[in-house]
């Protein structure tokens, strides 16, 4: 099996993701440039955080129409796994791979802090290693992380259990006070209908070693690797 980490001009977290995948979870990984369309050797593509193309126009808007994201449509349709964190989540929404959009934080401040996340759905390929009701601690670092979806889309998201993470208190209470950016119903991460494309505002790659202050982000990587092992993907490489 092999993972790819995408770099756009202005991406900042790609070395962090590459480091965690190669040095912490010890899996083969390569960088993917934003102009690349060939993803055939990859099982999972990561869109890291940062400010792709300077986030001009809207966060993730230009990257959402880039060659690599256009290729991701086919990649995901064939069952490939896609993980977008922070700017990566914004890009997936702008590129139409995930529902909704990400707006300016309601507080208008850039928020760089630790958050507690309630895992709402432990039956996705990205969360299957977590027990129901698990609360994870991961940092956020963004100015435009308020997820918005119109009421109809929101109903569908909830009915299909596509809301994977919500901002919560340390003991798992989903309340307004635990919401760092004004996200509708405290949504911090969603999956697509097929369950193989996940976007979240928090940074799992920044909570992957004790030295970083926490290792909860590793659960996401380990869940994904478990999925790739179980479906036999790693045997085909």
């Amino acid at each position: 099996m092999r993972l790819g980490v995408v770099g756009f001009p202005g991406t900042w977290s790609y070395c962090d993701f590459h480091y965690v995948i190669s040095e912490v979870v010890r899996q083969p990984v390569r960088y993917v440039w934003h102009r690349d369309r060939d993803l055939a050797d990859l099982d999972c593509v990561v869109l890291p955080g940062g400010f792709s193309y300077g986030d001009y126009l809207r966060a993730g808007a230009v990257a959402g129409k880039s060659p690599v994201v256009e290729a991701l449509g086919d990649f995901a349709a064939r069952g490939g796994f896609v993980l977008g964190s922070c700017n990566g989540f914004q890009i997936l929404c702008e590129g139409g791979l995930l529902p909704g959009a990400l707006m300016r934080n309601e507080c208008l401040q850039y928020r760089c802090q630790s958050t507690s996340l309630l895992v709402e759905n432990v039956d996705t390929p990205f969360t299957r290693g977590m027990p129901p009701g698990q609360v994870l601690t991961m940092p956020i670092s963004h100015g435009e992380g308020k997820h918005y979806a119109d009421p109809e889309t929101l109903r569908t998201l909830k009915a299909r259990r596509q809301v994977v993470f919500r901002y919560a208190t340390a003991d798992g209470q989903v309340v307004r006070a635990a919401n760092p950016n004004g996200s509708v119903e405290n949504i911090a991460g969603v999956v697509n209908e097929g369950g193989n494309v996940l976007g979240l505002m928090p940074h799992p790659e920044r909570a992957a070693e004790t030295a970083m202050g926490g290792t909860d982000g590793l659960l996401l990587f380990q869940s994904l690797l478990g999925t790739l092992v179980e479906d036999g993907t790693f045997l085909r490489r």
Partner: protein
């Protein structure tokens, strides 16, 4: 052909930037501001023979990139007789 695109948040979507600017105006003594919303102006100079063709082309640009249909509405107008920026 010169085309002007006005992109605004849809009605009903909270505009936190607009609210902050309104509060700032209030602090400057403009307590008579009832509502304020911040939008985006995009000026495009496009090669086209007729205004209608230019508008159609820019409409396509709006749907593909310039506006996010989940959050924003846009209007398009062609502009006669002035350059977008001095060359």
């Amino acid at each position: 052909m010169r085309v002007r695109v006005l992109v605004r948040l849809k009605p009903g979507i909270l505009d936190v930037q607009g609210a902050a600017v309104q509060r700032a105006l209030l602090g400057l003594g403009f307590g008579d501001v009832r509502e304020l919303r911040v939008g985006k102006l995009i000026e495009v100079e496009v090669e086209a023979g007729a205004a209608e063709a230019a508008r159609a082309r820019v409409d396509e640009m709006c749907r593909k990139l310039l506006a996010n249909p989940i959050l924003e509405d846009y209007t398009i107008e062609t502009v006669e007789g002035e350059r977008l920026a001095p060359h």
